[in-house]
C-alpha cells in the first residue's frame, strides 16, 4: 500500500476535516466556539492530545492485546488530556476558566478515539503523527472559523489572543447575540456544513 506522508497530513485539512466532513467532535465544536480565541485554544489542546496519543498508540500497537485495546487507548488519551489540563492551568489560566469542563471532556472526544482506532492502531508512528497533526490542525481551523462567524455576527468583534479584540465592527453594528448562544451554534454549524457541501459537490 503506497502511502504518502503529505497525503495523510492534508486529508485532515479538507477531505476529512473533522466537524464538517466527518461531523465528529460536535460537543466541543458547538459549546466553546463563542469566540475565535476559545476555538483556537480548544483546537490546540485537542491537537496536542491527538498527536501524542496517536504516536504512543502507534508505537505500542503490536503490544496492546486486541481485547483490551479500547481500555488501553483511553488510559493513554486520558493521560495526555490531564497533562494538557495541568499545563493550561499553569500557563493560560484565564483560557482554562473559559473552556472549563470541556478540557477534561477531550477524553471522550470521538475524533481522538476515532483516529486511535481507525488509523494509529494500523500504521507506523511517523504516519500516525502526520495523521494526528493534520486532523488536529483541521479541527483547530474548523473551530476558529466557526468561532469567527459566531463572534463576528454575535458580538461584532474578533478576539485572537486575550485582552482586546483585534477587529471590531464599530458602534453602528447591533450585535445579534442569538449567535453566541447555544442555538446559534447549531444554526452557524448547519450553514457552514451546507456551504462546505456546496463547494465540495463541484
Amino acid at each position: 500500500m503506497a502511502q504518502s506522508l503529505a497525503k495523510e497530513f492534508t486529508k485532515g485539512l479538507w477531505a476529512e476535516i473533522p466537524p464538517f466532513r466527518l461531523v465528529l467532535g460536535l460537543c466541543p465544536t458547538l459549546a466553546v466556539t463563542k469566540t475565535v480565541e476559545n476555538g483556537i485554544g480548544m483546537g490546540l489542546a485537542t491537537t496536542f492530545v491527538l498527536v501524542f496519543s496517536n504516536l504512543l498508540i502507534s508505537i505500542l500497537r503490536n503490544i496492546i492485546p486486541a481485547k483490551v485495546r479500547i481500555a488501553c487507548y483511553i488510559v493513554i488519551i486520558a493521560t495526555f488530556v490531564t497533562i494538557v489540563e495541568l499545563v493550561m492551568q499553569a500557563y493560560t489560566y484565564p483560557l482554562f476558566l473559559k473552556l472549563g469542563i470541556f478540557i477534561p471532556l477531550i477524553v471522550v472526544n470521538c475524533i481522538v478515539l476515532g483516529r486511535a482506532e481507525a488509523f494509529a492502531s494500523k500504521n507506523t508512528p511517523v504516519f500516525s503523527v502526520a495523521d494526528g497533526l493534520g486532523i488536529g490542525i483541521g479541527f483547530t481551523l474548523s473551530l476558529a472559523s466557526l468561532g469567527a462567524v459566531r463572534e463576528l455576527i454575535g458580538s461584532g468583534t474578533i478576539t485572537i489572543w486575550g485582552g482586546n479584540p483585534v477587529f471590531a465592527l464599530g458602534d453602528w453594528y447591533q450585535p445579534f447575540s442569538f449567535m453566541v448562544e447555544a442555538p446559534g451554534a447549531f444554526v452557524a454549524l448547519g450553514l457552514m456544513l451546507a456551504g462546505m457541501n456546496l463547494i465540495g459537490k463541484k
Binding site: L60, I63, I64, P65, K67, V68, A71, C72, V75, I76, A78, T79, T82, I83, L86, V87, Q89, A90, Y91, Y93, P94, L97, G100, I101
Partner: protein, 194 residues
C-alpha cells in the same frame, strides 16, 4: 490463559506509567497553578469582599497549620478601624467535586463580612450561578458567626439556588466549615495579626 496474563500485564504497566508521568507533571506545575489561582481566583474574590481596606490583604497573608491542611489567612484592616480576615474553605459534594468558598469574617464583631465562590467545576449555567450570580452568596453577608448557615430545606436559613440545590448545599457546607474553623482558630489568628 497467556492472553489473559498479557492483557493484565499490559494494562497494569500502562496505568502505572501513566500514573507516574502525571504525578511528575503535577508536582512540576503545582507551584505555578497555585500562583495562578491566587491571581485569578482568590485576588478578585478578596477585592470584592473588602472594598474599603487600608492595607494589602494579599501581600500580608500568612499560614496557620490545622490538623487537615495549611490554612491561608488574608488579614484586612477595614475603614471603620475593625480587623477582618478572609480564608478559603472547600465544600464537599458539589456536582463537579469540591467547591472553594472565600469567607470573610470580622474579628471584632464576629460577623460574616461576606463570601465568594472561587474554584468550582459545576455545570455551566446551572451550578455555576453560585459564582456568577451574586444574590446567592450575598445571603451570607452580615450573618453572625453562630448563625445556622444550612439551606432552608435542611432547616437552616439560606435559600438555595433554584435548580442547583446540590451546588448550594456544598457552598453552605463550606460556609459552615468556615464557621467551625474560625471558632476554633480565632485566638491563634488574633495572636498572628498582632
Amino acid at each position: 490463559m497467556r492472553e489473559m496474563i498479557s492483557m493484565i500485564v499490559v494494562l497494569t504497566l500502562l496505568a502505572s506509567v501513566s500514573g507516574g508521568l502525571l504525578a511528575a507533571v503535577k508536582s512540576g506545575t503545582e507551584l505555578r497553578i497555585e500562583e495562578q489561582i491566587l491571581k485569578f481566583q482568590k485576588a478578585p474574590a478578596i477585592e470584592s469582599l473588602f472594598t474599603d481596606v487600608t492595607n494589602e490583604p494579599l501581600k500580608e497573608r500568612f499560614n496557620i497549620e490545622t490538623q487537615e491542611r495549611t490554612l491561608q489567612i488574608f488579614p484586612a484592616k477595614l475603614q471603620d478601624g475593625s480587623t477582618a480576615i478572609a480564608f478559603e474553605t472547600f465544600g464537599k459534594g458539589g456536582y463537579g467535586g469540591d467547591i472553594g468558598l472565600m469567607v470573610a469574617i470580622n474579628l471584632d464583631s464576629d460577623k460574616l463580612v461576606g463570601a465568594r465562590v472561587t474554584t468550582h467545576a459545576e455545570t455551566p449555567g446551572l451550578g455555576s450561578r453560585a459564582k456568577d450570580d451574586p444574590s446567592f452568596v450575598s445571603q451570607f453577608s452580615g450573618k453572625p458567626i453562630d448563625a445556622d448557615l444550612a439551606l432552608k430545606s435542611d432547616n437552616g436559613t439560606i435559600d438555595a439556588i433554584s435548580g442547583a440545590t446540590v451546588t448550594s448545599r456544598a457552598v453552605a457546607r463550606a460556609a459552615i466549615q468556615a464557621q467551625e474553623l474560625y471558632s476554633k482558630l480565632k485566638p491563634e489568628i488574633q495572636k498572628q495579626i498582632q
